[in-house]
């Protein structure tokens, strides 16, 4: 079984065919992002551009406020994934190592968060943020993003920590190490793979998040990258080329991250699913 046999040609063809069908709309998107808007109405399915319309990308950048939204997205996502990782490490440690009476109850409560749909919190959180003056503030996204990251992140973390032998920690405690020292000097380095998985998964979900951003951000100041596309819904809606260009640009960062960290993501998703 070790020697990899060459797959039958028919199987290869079938897989290539379905794979291409699967990503065909994306290919079409990238292709048409290089066309003039007038060329969209031809009968061709894919079309080699006469001249590559890089102007589309320039327009997308300017009309779509891409640089500004990119910075907002980056800032909000970065804070979210860092804080979520730290909190889930702390909670994961408390849930697997510490001995306390309410442990089961607290863990169950956090896991309940995987069942609660985020959409059910949209209305009350809107009122809540409105009352405490957080509406249209980056925190109105960071706080719920972190909160909704915690169930799955904590789950992955506890699952990972359960496989880590306790003997290292025990000997460190013998040498006079406290819990804070254990976490920063021993547990953090050991759990790096789990932390990487958590960060990548949270990056993908929150970088792409739209509904909460659409609800809690009312002015242009803190809007995130998906809003670049929405800008083309009104004023520039007939500029199809730029619209396709902006979609391509927004799809790229996540695609690159995914291609770089395919294995960690696959591990995270399956680990999260199986434990849940």
């Amino acid at each position: 079984m070790e020697r990899q046999e060459r797959p039958p040609i028919l199987l290869q063809l079938l897989l290539w065919l379905v794979a291409l069908l699967q990503i065909f709309p994306l290919v079409w998107l990238v292709n048409f992002s290089f066309l003039k808007s007038g060329e969209f109405f031809g009968s061709e399915i894919l079309k080699w551009p006469k001249t590559f319309e890089f102007a589309n990308y320039v327009n997308a950048f300017t009309y779509g406020s891409v640089p500004k939204y990119l910075v907002n997205s980056f800032m909000i996502t970065a804070v979210t994934i860092v804080v979520a990782a730290v909190f889930s490490l702390m909670m994961g440690y408390a849930f697997t190592r510490m001995e306390w009476k309410l442990r089961g109850l607290a863990l169950g409560l956090v896991m309940l968060g995987m069942i609660v749909p985020i959409h059910a919190t949209l209305l009350p959180n809107f009122t809540l943020f409105n009352n405490i003056g957080l509406l249209d503030h980056p925190l109105s996204l960071m706080l719920p993003y972190i909160a909704f990251s915690l169930p799955i992140s904590t789950l992955i973390m506890t699952g990972f920590l359960e496989t880590v032998p306790r003997s290292i920690e025990e000997s460190a405690v013998m040498d006079g190490c406290g819990v804070f020292g254990l976490l920063t000097r021993i547990i953090f380095p050991i759990t790096k793979p789990a932390i990487a998985t958590i960060c990548i998964m949270n990056f993908i979900s929150w970088w792409n998040e739209f509904i909460m951003a659409n609800t809690f951000l009312t002015s242009d100041r803190f809007k995130t990258l998906p809003f670049s596309i929405m800008k083309f819904a009104g004023q520039y809606s007939s500029n199809y080329g730029a619209q396709f260009a902006v979609m391509t640009m927004i799809a790229l960062p996540t695609l690159i991250i995914y291609l770089l960290f395919t294995e960690q993501m696959a591990r995270g998703i399956t680990a999260g699913a199986v434990k849940g």
Binding site: V116, P124, V179, M230
Partner: protein, 294 residues
């Protein structure tokens, strides 16, 4: 060690930040919803308590609410009867693809990582009656009679939407089953071959039954994601035409923010959470048995 690990103060600083934030952002809002659900608040100004009238109306006198649930059920059926069997088949095929195994796994998952805003708007363009690629493809294939307004026709729109959601989720289902296949020991395949099982028998009688724990997990995930479907709907049809493509998340949003029935929207919200809880409990009970042994 025990003393250190049961120190209350340590436990508090480890758990409190995360747990407080979680309670404040997830649990507390639901309680707020329960309260606002009993009012006739429009979102602005004064409001009165109306008791459980909103909840009653949602459950007994709201065809759109039931339509939304019905659509979630349609989506679920399509997912379980089409997407999952195809995903299992392709997960198996991929494991036999040799050195291309990783390439295909990567490609199939790509749609799942791209922002829903991008994919939704992209599909709106694909379905577009005048420049959309779908109608062009049909024309080139000589199937011009099948051309239509994919998102504008009330009887077709829901299926277009279901197709897009299944397209985006396909890689996810595939990945789960692929991981499940990895967990099946290699010598089982050899043993089955030694016993003279053909390829088809091997997969239908040995491999798929052994996948059942993973199928169970995937089904539970499918049920909740179908119920929680919102972004794609919001961005592609916003529930229209009419309410034919409405889903609960989008419906409560529209009720509160477009129709200014904030109190009523909260009532839908609460019932939504309760439905999710009940279904999760039922699913976990019903699917707990028959774990494969090997």
């Amino acid at each position: 060690m025990h003393k250190l690990m049961s120190n209350r103060w340590t436990i508090t600083w480890l758990v409190a930040p995360g747990l407080t934030l979680f309670l404040f952002m997830v649990c507390f809002p639901i309680l707020m919803s329960v309260y606002y659900g009993t009012t006739n608040w429009t979102g602005l100004g004064e409001y009165q308590s109306v008791g459980f009238a909103n909840y009653q109306k949602v459950l007994f006198d709201d065809p759109i609410f039931w339509r939304s649930l019905w659509n979630a059920l349609l989506l679920l059926l399509a997912t379980l009867l089409l997407q999952h069997p195809v995903a299992i088949l392709f997960a198996i095929l991929i494991t036999r693809a040799g050195r291309l195994e990783k390439t295909f796994r990567t490609i199939f998952f790509i749609p799942a990582v791209i922002s829903i805003v991008v994919t939704s708007k992209m599909w709106v363009s694909v379905f577009h009656p005048s420049y959309g690629v779908l109608n062009k493809v049909l024309e080139q294939l000589g199937l011009a009679s099948l051309k239509q307004d994919w998102l504008g026709d009330p009887s077709v729109a829901i299926w277009s939407l279901i197709f897009v959601i299944m397209w985006q989720g396909f890689g996810y289902a595939l990945l789960l089953y692929y991981a499940g296949l990895q967990g099946i020991p290699k010598d089982l395949y050899e043993a089955a071959e030694l016993d003279g099982a053909g390829k088809v028998t091997l997969y239908t009688r040995v491999v798929v039954p052994l996948l059942s724990p993973m199928i169970r997990v995937a089904v539970i995930i499918a049920v909740t994601t179908c119920l929680k479907q919102m972004e794609t709907v919001f961005l592609m049809t916003n529930g229209g035409p009419g309410s034919t493509t409405q889903f609960l998340g989008n419906y409560l949003y529209k009720t509160a923010f477009s129709s200014s029935l904030y109190g009523y929207g909260n009532a839908i919200s609460v019932i939504f959470v309760i439905i999710c809880l009940i279904i999760t409990v039922i699913m976990n009970r019903a699917l707990k048995k028959d774990v494969g042994q090997f």
